[in-house]
């Protein structure tokens, strides 16, 4: 294909990345705002995370004694993997130039690469809390992996491929598959593991001040200024990207085609923003009603989601409706 036809795909991808980078803080702010309103407060406003980021980016950078390059580069790696995922996923348009370079397994791998980078940074500080957070985070990650891969499996059965564009377009072509038990179970399982992986309630409390209850926060206690900004930004982007992934896997409407027109790209942008906003709102609303789970009850939750994913696979195998 010539550069002329290739261009829209690239622009759409670039727009995707820019949208995630710019939008992630707003997603976080929106969720905080929803929570504040439900608690009867006024809240800091949707733009608050952006203000925090801007301020952190202008603050002094502190290198704790005895930390190595691992600690220094972990934030960039987390953010980088997330940006790459944002470039791969079909959020706005299908034809990402990286689409054939990494399928859903690759995306999961990149996600875990970011997690591992941050865990190593937590261990690198050599503080008690850092190690504690890393240990907890890696344990949850290890237990999340089976569920997430089985969910991928279940999703890849209808489209006969783990390639993202293939899955999305397959769902878009046969919306009937959405009401099949397989995809419903897969949706629930995926939702649980995404909550666990992004450190939301009931697995982790993102707004806790008590180190002993922390998981994600405990790993980044030593970060200050710009590096902290990068970490916070990255975790916001992770959440955004994963919400977008779920949205387009199960509601693949409004996604532009491989070689879209400008209008289609705009529609795609609006659509994904709306979907992510709705999902984030639902997530935040749900979080108001639940408390953090005891750490050693989390395996129950993950075992349950594993079971759901397994059922999803078997269901999508056996319920295979003659089409």
């Amino acid at each position: 294909m010539s550069a002329a036809t290739e261009l829209p795909g690239l622009t759409a991808t670039a727009l995707q990345v820019v949208a995630v980078v710019a939008g992630a803080p707003f997603v976080v702010g929106g969720m905080r705002q929803v929570r504040a309103r439900l608690e009867g407060r006024a809240g800091g406003g949707i733009g608050q995370p952006w203000r925090d980021l801007r301020k952190q980016l202008r603050k002094q950078q502190i290198t704790p004694a005895g930390t190595t390059v691992v600690f220094g580069f972990a934030p960039a790696v987390v953010a980088g993997t997330t940006l790459l995922i944002a470039a791969i996923l079909p959020l706005i348009a299908l034809g990402s130039p990286l689409d054939s370079a990494a399928d859903l397994f690759g995306v999961v791998g990149l996600l875990f690469l970011g997690t591992v980078a941050l865990t190593l940074a937590g261990l690198d500080t050599g503080t008690a809390f850092g190690g504690m957070g890393s240990s907890r985070e890696i344990t949850i990650a290890a237990l999340v992996e089976p569920t997430i891969l089985l969910a991928v499996f279940a999703l890849s059965v209808p489209g006969h491929s783990a390639n993202l564009a293939a899955i999305v377009s397959a769902t878009a072509d046969h919306p009937g598959q959405l009401v099949s038990p397989g995809s419903l179970l897969a949706f629930v399982a995926l939702a649980i593991v995404i909550i666990a992986e992004t450190g939301r309630l009931p697995v982790d409390n993102p707004s806790t001040h008590l180190e002993l209850t922390m998981i994600h926060e405990a790993m980044i206690l030593e970060y200050a200024g710009p590096k902290l900004a990068l970490v916070e930004w990255a975790s916001g982007m992770r959440l955004t990207v994963l919400l977008g992934l779920v949205a387009n896997l199960f509601l693949p409407w409004g996604v532009a085609g491989a070689h879209p027109s400008v209008l289609a790209v705009l529609i795609g942008l609006v659509a994904i923003s709306a979907k992510v906003a709705v999902l984030a709102g639902v997530l935040a609303t749900g979080e108001v009603f639940i408390a953090k789970l005891r750490y050693f009850r989390i395996p129950e939750l993950l075992a349950g989601s594993f079971l759901l994913a397994l059922l999803a696979v078997t269901a999508s195998y056996f319920f295979a409706t003659p089409t």
């Binding site: 009867g40 608050q48 301020k55 980016l57 603050k59 001040h209 180190e211 206690l221 200024g225």
Partner: protein, 159 residues
């Protein structure tokens, strides 16, 4: 489900915001509308702690002005110190201030923090917070009301 109904019935309980105070401390660069604070109890009677808790509660909601209390001083833009500085808390207070990245503010809350209050010249007391570290904002009162604390915070956040 009944919870949602309850939320609907309760509605907004936050006090209406008064218009921002005129006089401003020179805010740390970049700190416009966003202020993370690490709280240090240098030897307080916990009266000020209760009021601070109130200031960040649903009723006064300091968060709407961009102020937040964080766990790690590395994440903070400054300290919110309460109580007279006791001998045992002298060094920890200095350590905590050292751990806060520049630029940083120090907000002393309560009479004890400002001038020693009733504990001044106590045998276990080093002095007021201002005697130990440079203080940018002082919130008098024993204890100060949440409203006063929020006003002080707003002089820094500028919202």
């Amino acid at each position: 489900m009944s919870w949602i109904g309850k939320i609907g019935r309760v509605g907004r309980i936050v006090e209406p915001a008064s218009d921002p105070p005129e006089e401003r401390v020179a805010p740390p660069t970049g700190v416009c509308g966003s202020l993370q604070l690490r709280h240090v109890d240098a030897g307080s009677c916990n009266g000020c702690e209760l009021e601070i808790t109130g200031a960040f509660s649903s009723v006064y909601d300091a968060e709407r002005f961009g102020a937040r209390v964080v766990a790690s001083p590395r994440h903070a833009d400054g300290l919110i110190a309460t109580g007279v500085v006791t001998r045992n808390m002298h060094q920890p207070l200095l350590n905590t201030l050292k751990a806060v990245p520049e630029p940083r503010v120090v907000i002393a809350v309560g009479d004890c923090a400002c001038n020693g209050g009733v504990f001044a010249q106590g045998y276990g007391v080093v002095g007021s917070v201002a005697d130990v570290i440079p203080v940018d904002v002082q919130v008098p009162g024993c204890p100060p009301t949440p409203q006063q604390i929020i006003t002080a915070l707003r002089t820094v956040t500028g919202r």
